[in-house]
């Protein structure tokens, strides 16, 4: 079995995670973790839909920010995709998508403040980077023949609109609407830093232990996501897109002087800003590196590797829940419900809930990341196995799982897992804001201390780490000849 490169790679990653576990800070520090968990579930089954008058507004704002942000992102991403063959554009796109929506929001908050633009750009910018990459891949796969047959002298734009776009339009549309669902999740968590979306109220209810209120918000959010196919229709899309910007709320007016100040003063390293010596700058930088960046990097990497392996394990355990090769309809329906819930809940919210219940350590983060990402991969793999037709005398139960299905889906399973590696890393960094000592923790601390110079350096480091992991993941996928489709 070890002669398969895919198996060797799997065990290598398993080994790395085991080593990581030795160094990781895994613990339940709460005296009575199950009591709170019980209270939480009690809250979810006894939702209180009438406690906050803000509930409807929260839903409206969540949708409005998602639509506006994703629309802007897709338009910008499409334009970038047109010039994606330029190296500088590829690098720019990789960079903007390497920074998580929440970090973008934290940056914009510093100079736009609580203006709707903060939330819109926080979604639009990283999404533009992702759209640029995926759109350009889709465009590259368009049939080239019609383009070759055009009469000489056809304008570039005409050629593009007639011979290139129509062929891939369906895939662009499918991907964009898929991304819209991702946008809802992004929009929801922006509330955690103060924008008026669901996350804002969720944070307030949770932190006060109002679990019935939190339960109501979560249920509404699941319903919102699960019903997307019914209320987002191609015909209605223009209405939503045009309407969305008007429902972002007022926020506070932008003071443009703040924008200039942010870029010309705030993010300039303090020693330079205060005209101190180069030696001071060196001290400043080494202090930042050794006391914040390196510990943050270490924790981020350790947590990512552990979460990656647990994600894989969970996906392998979860896919039979919805696979047509196991169990009856009742099991499959409940399996679907479970997977819909875990994959619709943003990792950030899961981690937030678990941190409340189990206390601070890497454990809640690992479980949150594994649940969410494992849910996504488990869903995709489960769907894939349902399309496999087994011979009628195929073995059943565990033998069916190990001999018939796993060998057939293992490659695409690994492809999804490696694809999500970079996504898990991005989320890991973000979870630092909740108190796990990853890069996000130090970024949040710097911002809380109004030291944007430090925050920017740390965000830059986080972005570079992400780009590195992305490249590594692509290299490994290339070596193992794994192909996959983009997920979020």
């Amino acid at each position: 079995m070890f002669s398969y490169p895919t198996v060797r790679a799997s065990f290598l990653f398993l080994a790395i995670a085991c080593v990581g576990l030795v160094f990781a800070d895994i613990a339940i520090t709460t005296v009575n973790p199950w009591r709170d968990l019980g209270r939480f579930f009690l809250g979810v089954v006894t939702p209180d839909f009438f406690s906050t008058e803000g509930l409807a507004t929260a839903i409206l704002r969540t949708v409005a920010f998602a639509f506006t942000g994703v629309t802007l992102g897709s338009v910008a991403g499409f334009l970038l995709a047109l010039v994606y063959r330029w190296r500088v554009v590829r690098m720019f796109s990789a960079f903007i998508r390497a920074i998580h929506e929440l970090f973008w929001a934290l940056i914009f908050l510093q100079f736009f403040g609580f203006h709707p633009l903060t939330g819109v750009l926080a979604i639009a910018i990283p999404y533009a980077g992702i759209f640029a990459k995926v759109y350009s891949e889709i465009l590259d796969e368009a049939d080239q023949e019609p383009l070759r047959l055009l009469p000489p002298g056809t304008g570039v734009i005409s050629a593009f609109l007639y011979a290139r776009v129509p062929d891939v339009w369906d895939r662009i549309r499918t991907y964009t609407s898929y991304r819209l669902e991702c946008g809802m999740r992004s929009s929801a968590i922006l509330g955690f830093v103060g924008l008026p979306t669901i996350g804002f109220y969720l944070e307030a209810s949770f932190s006060q232990g109002l679990y019935s209120e939190a339960g109501a918000l979560l249920i509404l959010f699941y319903v919102l996501i699960a019903t997307i196919p019914w209320w987002v229709k191609p015909k209605l899309l223009p209405v939503y897109i045009i309407g969305a910007p008007f429902f972002l709320g007022e926020g506070l007016p932008i003071v443009w002087g703040n924008v200039t100040r942010f870029f010309t003063q705030d993010i300039v390293p303090a020693p330079i800003r205060n005209d101190e010596s180069w030696a001071e700058l060196g001290l400043w930088f080494s202090d930042l590196m050794f006391n914040e960046a390196l510990p943050g990097l270490w924790n981020t990497v350790v947590l990512t590797q552990i979460a990656l392996v647990f994600t894989g394990l969970l996906a392998l355990l979860a896919f039979p829940l919805i696979s047509s090769h196991f169990g009856g309809p009742v099991r499959r329906v409940s399996g679907h419900v479970f997977l819909v819930v875990v994959r619709s809940t943003p990792e950030y919210i899961l981690a937030y809930i678990l941190l409340q219940l189990w206390g601070p350590s890497m454990l809640p983060a690992v479980v949150a990341l594994a649940l969410h990402n494992g849910g996504i991969i488990g869903h995709l793999i489960g769907r894939q196995t349902s399309m496999i037709r087994l011979r009628s005398d195929a073995s059943v139960g565990l033998n069916r799982y190990t001999f018939e299905l796993i060998p057939r889906v293992y490659r695409s399973f690994l492809a999804f897992l490696f694809y999500r590696w970079e996504i898990i890393m991005r989320e890991t960094a973000i979870l630092g804001i909740l108190g796990v000592a990853t890069l996000g923790f130090y970024i949040d601390s710097a911002i809380q201390n109004i030291r944007f110079d430090r925050a920017m350096v740390l965000i830059l480091i986080t972005a570079l780490l992400n780009i590195g992991i992305d490249a590594l993941s692509r290299f490994i996928r290339g070596r193992l000849a794994l192909k996959t489709m983009p997920t979020c």
Binding site: L149, L150, P151, G155
Partner: protein, 216 residues
């Protein structure tokens, strides 16, 4: 009117020569049929000739090169994209102008696909798609036609109608044909390809089916 002259052209695929070296010239006003069994190198030759024409010729490739998501009308209109400014093309994409509708409609009528004018190509049958590609070639109306098995999916009478239409609109043409009868009837000259080389090159009038059959 343009012709074409090829000298010592070759083509290789995966390090193996699949065509040539071969040379021949087609003078303006000459209608050539290219015959030979499949895999002999006809399609490759077609591509090379098209490349040499720098897009000046009209090509109907074997796989037709249609944009499946666009309606029949727009696929035909694409043959004249270069004659209009960009804004005009963009408007046409949204809502075609009367002028082009009047131009394209008769072509589609002749080919029996006028009812499908606004249907996306993806919804058409193989034979209907082939006729769309032919309508596009007719609408393009450049000096020279290169067609690779343009009637392979059409039934007898329609195949003749199409060949006649093509012959009428293009004085100069090179048409690869599988059907020997059609080749003899709709060309001045027949070039037979075998194993990537020219095995036969005679005026059609001097040939009979029996002369061509050995190529297959």
């Amino acid at each position: 009117m343009t012709g074409i002259e090829l000298s010592e052209i070759t083509a290789s695929f995966g390090g193996e020569r699949v065509l040539g070296p071969l040379s021949f010239a087609v003078t303006p006003g000459e209608q050539v049929a290219l015959v030979g069994k499949s895999g002999a190198g006809k399609s490759t030759l077609m591509r090379l000739i098209y490349q040499q024409s720098n897009g000046g010729a009209t090509l109907i490739p074997q796989d037709l090169g249609l944009v499946h998501a666009l309606p029949v009308f727009h696929n035909v209109y694409m043959a004249q994209l270069n004659r209009h400014p960009t804004w005009y093309n963009v408007c046409t994409l949204v809502r075609p102008f009367q002028r082009e509708r009047r131009e394209i409609m008769p072509l589609l009528e002749q080919l029996g696909i006028n009812e499908k004018q606004w249907a996306p190509v993806a919804s058409l049958s193989g034979g209907q798609r082939q006729r769309v590609a032919i309508a596009r070639a007719l609408y393009r109306n450049s000096g020279m036609l290169l067609a690779d098995e343009p009637v392979s999916a059409l039934d007898g009478p329609m195949a003749h109608t199409v060949m006649a239409l093509l012959q009428e609109s293009y004085q100069t043409s090179i048409v690869a044909l599988h059907d020997i009868e059609l080749a003899l009837r709709y060309s001045h000259r027949i070039i037979g390809i075998q194993d990537g080389r020219i095995a036969l090159d005679e005026p059609s009038a001097r040939l009979s089916e029996a002369d061509i059959l050995p190529l297959y």
